[in-house]
């Protein structure tokens, strides 16, 4: 007898499909059944041009979570991280954050998004009421603007305004000592670049009033060729240059400006230079570039910081980034707050986090604080130094003074209408 087979889906594949469907719908309940562990969700950027932001954040989080879990977890509950890629798109960041909470049963969020994505996740936190710690967004308005304020969101990140105050006063000191009056700026053409440059020059002029900006360049973000920018700056003949280019943009810029021997002709202040992602990639790192500290294991010069940098390197075979220390600090905050609250409940942790000071390898005095009134990180190590072409890359870093930072930050907030 000839066997005939009717076209269409076979019984076997129908059953398989139904099984897969049932698994998909059952997954959240299965997940909730294992309530002994606490899930922490983390949307971040793991693909595309700034994937390193996400991967180095993830590495640092996992490094710290292992320690917390080994020490008993969050109030006795082992942490399970659920980390997903948002591709750097805000709508994806919002979607992923919601899914992490609603479907995967995450009780806390670490928001490893930059720029617009962090504001999208912030809105999700506002909507769902879940505790959220931002770990990558440096935009000052995220916490400084009272309109953004919600009781369940915190920011464990350095801030643009802090960097500008410290950078401005440091640069003004050098400007006065060396008589640098004619300045040029070269920064990426988007909100971070414009704001940071504006604030830097504001404080530079405040501390050194006779400084004059004679040339401004605004290359596009991720621009591959900087020839026209470099020649424009060289023609203007400034005595000093400020730039807040970062990552691949900064390294391409330096490689291209090196061809024109730019770094012999002026003092260069590049706030984002002292990060291993930039330091180790530049082909011929010029001597004497002034930079803020992003992450460098020799500043603060404590054995704890050096040990942390080495442990990270030993585990992942690369140096940590600025994003790494911020994410690690967020996990440290969670662990300490959960211990104090004796609970892993988001609301209770949020209460304790307000104004909490913890011991931390990245603190200016060995501690960092989550400021109570605007839920943002203060007291972290911040300073400026000059580069050398080999390790330790920035041998001496001059620490910024937090007292001055607080005073000028309060003034800045007032001028923006935030207080």
């Amino acid at each position: 007898m000839k066997r005939t087979r009717t076209p269409g889906i076979s019984r076997r594949s129908t059953l398989a499909l139904m099984g897969a469907g049932a698994m998909t719908f059952a997954a959240p309940w299965v997940a909730r059944a294992q309530a002994k562990t606490i899930k922490i969700g983390m949307p971040t950027i793991l693909s595309g041009r700034v994937a390193q932001l996400g991967t180095s954040s993830r590495n640092a989080v996992m490094l710290e979570v292992e320690k917390v879990n080994a020490a008993g977890g969050l109030a006795g509950r082992q942490i399970e991280m659920v980390i997903r890629d948002s591709k750097g798109q805000p709508q994806e960041a919002a979607r992923v954050a919601r899914e992490l909470v609603n479907t995967d049963g995450c009780e806390l969020l670490l928001d490893g998004e930059a720029s617009s994505g962090s504001f999208a996740v912030h809105e999700v936190a506002r909507d769902l009421g879940v505790l959220c710690i931002h770990t990558c967004s440096e935009a000052s308005s995220l916490t400084a603007d009272p309109k953004q304020h919600i009781p369940n969101a915190f920011r464990c990140v350095r801030q643009g305004i802090h960097d500008s105050i410290v950078g401005g006063s440091y640069a003004a000191g050098i400007a006065k000592a060396k008589g640098l009056k004619k300045w040029a700026t070269c920064s990426p053409d988007y909100a971070y670049g414009r704001d940071t440059t504006g604030e830097f020059t504001l404080y530079l002029k405040r501390f050194a009033p006779d400084v004059e900006i004679i040339s401004e360049s605004w290359p596009k973000l991720f621009q591959p060729d900087y020839t026209e920018v470099v020649t424009k700056i060289l023609q203007a003949k400034p005595q000093a240059l400020y730039s807040c280019l970062w990552g691949g943009d900064l390294t391409s810029y330096i490689d291209q400006a090196n061809i024109y021997a730019m770094f012999n002709q002026m003092e260069v202040f590049a706030v984002n230079m002292a990060d291993y992602t930039a330091l180790t990639v530049v082909k011929n790192l010029p001597k004497g570039i002034h930079s803020g500290n992003r992450y460098i294991k020799t500043f603060p010069t404590t054995p704890e910081n050096a040990a942390w940098g080495d442990a990270y390197r030993a585990k992942y075979n690369e140096y940590p980034t600025n994003w790494s220390w911020q994410n690690a600090t967020a996990v440290m905050f969670l662990a300490e707050a959960a211990k104090k609250a004796n609970s892993a409940d988001g609301k209770k942790i949020a209460e304790v986090l307000k104004g909490l000071t913890i011991k931390c390898p990245f603190g200016a005095d060995g501690t960092v604080t989550m400021r109570g009134d605007d839920h943002t990180l203060v007291g972290y190590a911040i300073g400026w130094g000059t580069t050398i072409p080999q390790e330790p890359y920035v041998p001496e870093v001059k620490a910024g003074d937090w007292k001055t930072i607080f005073e000028l930050e309060a003034e800045w907030k007032k001028s923006k209408g935030y207080t």
């Binding site: 719908f25 959240p28 793991l46 693909s47 994937a51 996400g54 997903r84 890629d85 591709k87 798109q89 805000p90 709508q91 994806e92 919002a94 979607r95 992923v96 919601r98 899914e99 609603n102 479907t103 720029s115 617009s116 504001f119 999208a120 912030h122 809105e123 506002r126 909507d127 935009a139 308005s141 603007d145 309109k147 953004q148 053409d189 988007y190 909100a191 971070y192 414009r194």
Partner: protein, 339 residues
């Protein structure tokens, strides 16, 4: 014109009398679809599923409106995402700055979009094929750059911050998840129904004629430029509706909504679902979002997976999923008749 399109045109030729019947059928299907979707929250507590449908509404409106241009008129726009972004920003800004009731902001956004689309369309629809595609892309980048650089108004690259206020209207409170869900479903169903009516109207058939042979249409006395402009503006309105749903979902508007990648996703969705059936883009949207959501759960190399899928559709099936199904059904029918 491809064989597929030729065959379809024959099939779709309306019989006079049957048109009204078909319209009632469409309305009935829309009603049933809305009732089924709107009753979903009664059966499931899954917020993720509701989120999924809300996103399907936003992308579905956007992709189907793009199909009015690509599939029905033969205008391959690479810049359709600008209207998605315009809808999101227009609505968000009006709600944040003017604090008007939501329906007023909705209508105002559509009005603004219509004006902008008319101006851009008047320039673009004169151009053919690749030139049309490129100029729409250029306008999209212009709008995207404007959003980025006008930071004092639009928030620049950080987007509209602080959330979009949603005062209740007519008993509908859009800050309530279920209310937002039902409203999105209603907008989706109404939008699709309206687009279906456009596609099946004499105007819709004029568009198909322009797509197949613009010169002949012109000789028959049709003002090709005006018809193209009209459909360009109409498509922009539905794309803006999609943008508004997305703005409500994320409670903000971000420059990425007006970036070329959104237009690219629209075209990708159309390729997945198929451009020769009305519901092709909607099927494409569901497929695309399902793929996106499941693949990104498991790997950060989602680009490779999505790339392979699009290759499969482009080189393997050589058409979208619904095109394939429609053809397969037609073949089955034919062999059935021949037996």
């Amino acid at each position: 014109m491809t064989d597929l399109e030729a065959g379809r045109t024959e099939r779709l030729l309306p019989v006079r009398g049957g048109v009204a019947l078909q319209r009632y059928r469409d309305v009935l299907i829309a009603l049933v679809a809305f009732v089924v979707l709107a009753s979903l929250p009664l059966f499931t507590g899954s917020k993720a599923l509701l989120d999924f449908v809300i996103r399907c509404s936003a992308y579905g409106l956007f992709a189907t409106s793009l199909n009015l241009l690509v599939g029905y008129t033969g205008l391959t726009s690479f810049g359709h995402g600008m209207f998605f972004g315009l809808g999101a920003y227009g609505f968000g800004l009006i709600m944040q700055k003017l604090a008007v009731p939501i329906p007023v902001a909705f209508i105002a956004t559509l009005t603004i979009t219509a004006v902008v689309a008319a101006v851009i369309g008047a320039i673009c629809v004169r151009l053919k094929e690749i030139y049309f595609a490129f100029v729409t892309l250029a306008f999209q980048m212009l709008i995207h750059s404007t959003i980025l650089s006008w930071a004092s108004f639009t928030g620049g690259d950080q987007g509209l911050r602080g959330g979009i206020p949603r005062p209740a209207f007519l008993g509908i409170d859009l800050s309530n998840h279920v209310h937002l869900y039902v409203t999105s479903c209603a907008l989706l169903v109404l939008g699709l129904l309206a687009m279906r009516q456009i596609a099946q109207s004499p105007f819709g058939y004029t568009l198909r004629m322009i797509r197949d042979n613009a010169a002949r249409a012109s000789f028959l006395g049709i003002d090709v430029w005006r018809a193209k402009l009209t459909v360009f503006v109409l498509a922009a309105l539905f794309a803006a509706m999609g943008g508004m749903v997305m703005a409500l979902f994320v409670s903000g508007a971000y420059p990425e909504f007006a970036y070329w990648t959104i237009s690219g996703e629209g075209i990708f969705i159309n390729m997945l679902g198929g451009v020769s059936t009305f519901l092709g883009p909607m099927v494409g949207t569901v497929l695309f979002l399902l793929l996106n959501d499941t693949v990104t759960r498991f790997t950060e190399y989602h680009g490779i997976v999505l790339g392979v899928v699009i290759l499969f559709f482009a080189l393997g099936l050589r058409k979208g999923l619904l095109d394939f199904v429609a053809e397969w059904a037609a073949r089955r029918r034919e062999t059935g008749e021949g037996r």
